[in-house]
Symmetry: C2
Subunit: 359 residues, 2 copies
């Protein structure tokens, strides 16, 4: 045994063994945080699976958050909800501002709840981040649906790209389905490609129109007619009834100019007055018929499967492109090549080869 060479006086404090304060604290903290995090996702999941709307709202907020730690939690939550999802009817609704989308959705949503359904209303509006919510921002427009206990209304997620907004909405659908909502209505005003995005995440796509001066078909955006499973002419009331009926015939004729859909469904045209709650029941019947027909022919499941694949490839390809074009060297060279192209001094293929070599 070696003799102590220092601190021979009893008054001197011995250093003793080092206290593992820091280590222990950090470990405890980590443990706590992990528990808290786990508990929190678990808590949200529990709430959502029990149909708790507050938990559902908080879950969707998590999905919409751009913070990394929220995104991790959101990912865990979505994955935990997945086995409980996929069991609703997803209805996409589009129409220009003023066509009466809110009123229609309110009547249709309330109707569905009287039939025992739980209805979630989401929106895809890539412009909402700029205009601070151009649709569904004001829940007062669906007064009675807002207070309906079987309904859940959520404004559009904001985002700098349609892809981002669409992704958040698709994940919100999963949460809503896990929360027991049997009808998911996705509304869009049709900015840019948002109709295509909504069409690619819904089972049934409804185009809401107004009767116009007889030549209103001209105003329809390219491709929309082909996506529609039904065209509903709204505000068919009072003096508008006759015009609405004429429009119905015209739209019906126009729809027949398109090749038949591969699922065998022939797009329907209907008139309604959402304001007077007339004709909404008929729309519901058409959608219910569609669903039972598609489920019988197995097109319902195969379409959803196709949609999943579409979003997978879409996500990959948009990342590949953004990674490429956001590269500084490449974007600088691209500008040069575009000028050379416009001056007929290179070919698209030579320019592409040159740009690809930079990546």
């Amino acid at each position: 045994m070696s003799k102590p060479t220092k601190n021979t006086s009893a008054l001197n404090e011995q250093a003793g063994i080092e206290q593992p304060d820091a280590l222990s604290k950090s470990a405890a903290q980590k443990l706590q945080e992990a528990r808290k995090k786990k508990h929190s996702v678990k808590e949200l999941l529990h709430g959502i699976l029990n149909g708790n709307v507050t938990a559902l709202s908080r879950g969707i907020t998590l999905i919409e958050s751009t913070a990394t730690k929220h995104q991790e939690k959101a990912k865990a939550l979505v994955e935990a909800c997945l086995p409980h999802s996929n069991n609703s009817i997803r209805v996409g609704i589009t129409g220009v501002p003023g066509v009466g989308k809110s009123t229609f959705i309110e009547q249709y949503g309330n109707l569905l709840t009287t039939k025992g359904h739980k209805v979630a209303v989401l929106a895809v509006d890539p412009s909402s981040s700029l205009s601070k919510g151009s649709i569904l921002g004001d829940k007062t427009r669906m007064e009675s649906l807002v207070t309906n206990e079987k309904a859940f209304i959520r404004p559009s997620a904001s985002g700098d790209s349609l892809g981002g907004v669409a992704r958040k909405t698709r994940e919100a659908i999963i949460l809503c389905e896990a929360a027991g909502f049997t009808y998911i209505i996705i509304e869009t005003v049709g900015v840019g490609q948002s109709e295509t995005a909504v069409h690619s995440m819904t089972d049934f796509f409804l185009l809401l129109k107004l009767a116009g001066a007889g030549d209103e078909l001209q105003g329809i955006k390219r491709g929309i007619m082909e996506m529609a499973d039904a065209i509903v002419i709204n505000k068919a009331d009072g003096e508008n009834i006759r015009a609405a009926k004429i429009a119905k015939v015209e739209f019906n004729r126009a729809l027949h100019l398109y090749p038949p859909k591969s699922n065998g469904w022939i797009a329907k045209t209907l008139t309604c007055s959402a304001l007077n709650n007339e004709g909404v029941e008929e729309v519901d019947t058409v959608i219910a018929d569609f669903v039972s027909e598609m489920k019988e022919s197995n097109h319902f499941a195969s379409k959803r499967n196709e949609q999943q694949k579409f979003w997978l490839l879409q996500t990959i390809e948009s990342r590949l492109k953004s990674d490429f074009y956001n590269d500084e060297k490449i974007s600088a060279e691209l500008e040069k090549q575009l000028i050379l192209l416009s001056e007929n001094k290179t070919t698209p293929f030579a320019a592409a080869a040159l740009l690809l070599e930079l990546s």
Copy 2:
């Protein structure tokens, strides 16, 4: 001076300095090949610029070759032709087999040559590599145009992808223009996306149709009507005249259902009998009107510029995708993820993130 220690006898041969045989030979060969190559592209270019059809044919064969050394020469040739290109009218023509494309092109082509034009006929047929040339493989179908000195007919390039065929055709256009052809007609049967490809490389897009049982609009592929600058109902002769006139009205009405084109052009409908050479002059007038209108409004040049940009981005993006999906690790994982997706065990976004991390 050192005395020779060996070979002291005069009968012994001295080694002398080493002959640089090998080096000299290889250098000479390289020089020769370089000259030959340079000469060859130069020769082809010279021939093409002088309107020599044999040189043009050989140039296009070079473009179509998959051999690396040919591709290098082709690239040099296309680049050398570029300053002499871009000065023709490019007309895309589509229609199902049996509609009378060959007969129509023959009459239209011959008409153009009587007006002093030189006409090149190319084709985009991605199926031709499988079916060994389903269109234009048999030049006997355009007997009189084949022997017309002011016309040049070339069957579709073969290739395993539409992208490859389209690229070769676009480069062939450059060579034809450099050879002084003032009208380039690009024919397609419309396999897969080939109409879109032809539409993206031509100034005017013509849809050739037949009069049917009154409901023939149903048979039109999605998107074709919107691309057409004119719909020509062929075989309007004998007992078909009445049906053709009815079809013309019907197509005209259908065309008006589409939103107006951004260039202000309103698609025209016409009838013709290519067989009897009736109505072809009217088609020529419509195309000429279109060209002068578009040149006046500057849409002609801006559309070509847009097309160049389209092909540049298209080429880049298809390479980005093929590089990604052809990766063995990625394609194996993609298959797994698609199965998980179909079983609802992952989301498209989680799967995409996982796959992107592999690249």
